[in-house]
Amino acid sequence: MPSNRVLIHVYGVMEPRTDILGWPTGIADAPVEAVAADPIMALTSVLPSEEFEPAAWERHAEDATWLGSVAAGHHRVLQAAIAAGDVVPFRLPSLYGGLGSLRRALDDNAIHITQAMERIRGRVEWAVKVYRTDEPGELDLESEPVRTGSDYLIARSREMQARAEADTLVHERVRTCYERINDISVAAVRNAPQDPVLSGRSQPMVLNAAFLVERADQQAFRTQVERIAQRSQSQGLLVEASGPWPAYNFASIAKADAAVRQP
């Protein structure tokens, strides 16, 4: 690929005529530029092609510093965007070789973009994670009179059964949490719980969900989650919420369709 090629990255699309004055810079500290593409407006940056051409992404795919900083730049612009209005976030990276090809791509996908915009209009994403805090303890052999091998086996099987029952109970409680929160959201997605390595927590994550919430309902949403968090604490569950996020989880057609109602 020639290195003098123009590269345009798209952060997302918004309603036209959104004021982007004073927004933070995006990826590689590039300024954000609005590209009108009726009936929407794309938030873009022109990136230096030698640093962001596909080969560069492959080169940097394992360079956490590079990737983390690029991801932060993308997210920074989208955070500014949801403060200013409704935005359909694009996945990172969304690269186009020039204004012409960008306009063509937006045109070709106008229906999908419009549908996504309709879905997220007046709404933002909130994340809710639930961690399990009731680590099942080790078999306490001291407390029971274990004299024979069969005593041990009986104690052991009793322990296994107790654990299975605890698991079922947790499963039901998490499900109830999810459904109660879902009651005051427009749509919901459950993602794979993050590994402790990713979550940075020792407690196992049992729910990693995203909810699409009306902007006007955010206070009610928070109150509801807080109530659930309070109640769940004594049941061995730690509930955490974060937001508002750009509606990352509800921008893509397939995912949002799958999300309409899940158990």
Binding site: P24, E58, E62, L67, A72, P89, S199, S242, K255
Partner: protein
Amino acid sequence: MTSPSSDLQAGQTGGPPVGRPSSPYLSTHAQAQSLADVLERVLDKGIVIVGDIQVRLLDIELLTIKIRLLVASVDKAKEMGVNWWEADEFASAQNGDGNRAELADRVKALEQRLKNDAETSDRTQGKADPEQSSR
């Protein structure tokens, strides 16, 4: 908590209710958005509008683990402009060397899986540029 970055404050104005003090149960503001959360979203979610330039992305799980391995300190994160997770417990927890060997093993396993995936998807995906060739 030290002062959040100015980017963060821009993010916090995104919704009306986020300004009030947070409850002991909920962290309902942008500081709770960890780097892993951001990566999980920006690399894996969002609408995909295929253009003339395509980049094939590696497994998100591998990427985020590597981030955790390499982002060893808050200072480093500040350099990267991603220090909003400064208050997160993991930042201090991950600074120890305790599970680095374990992480490295996991990365190895994931890389092997990626290699296998790449071999199969190279055969199925073909060349990357359907848009351009159709014009």
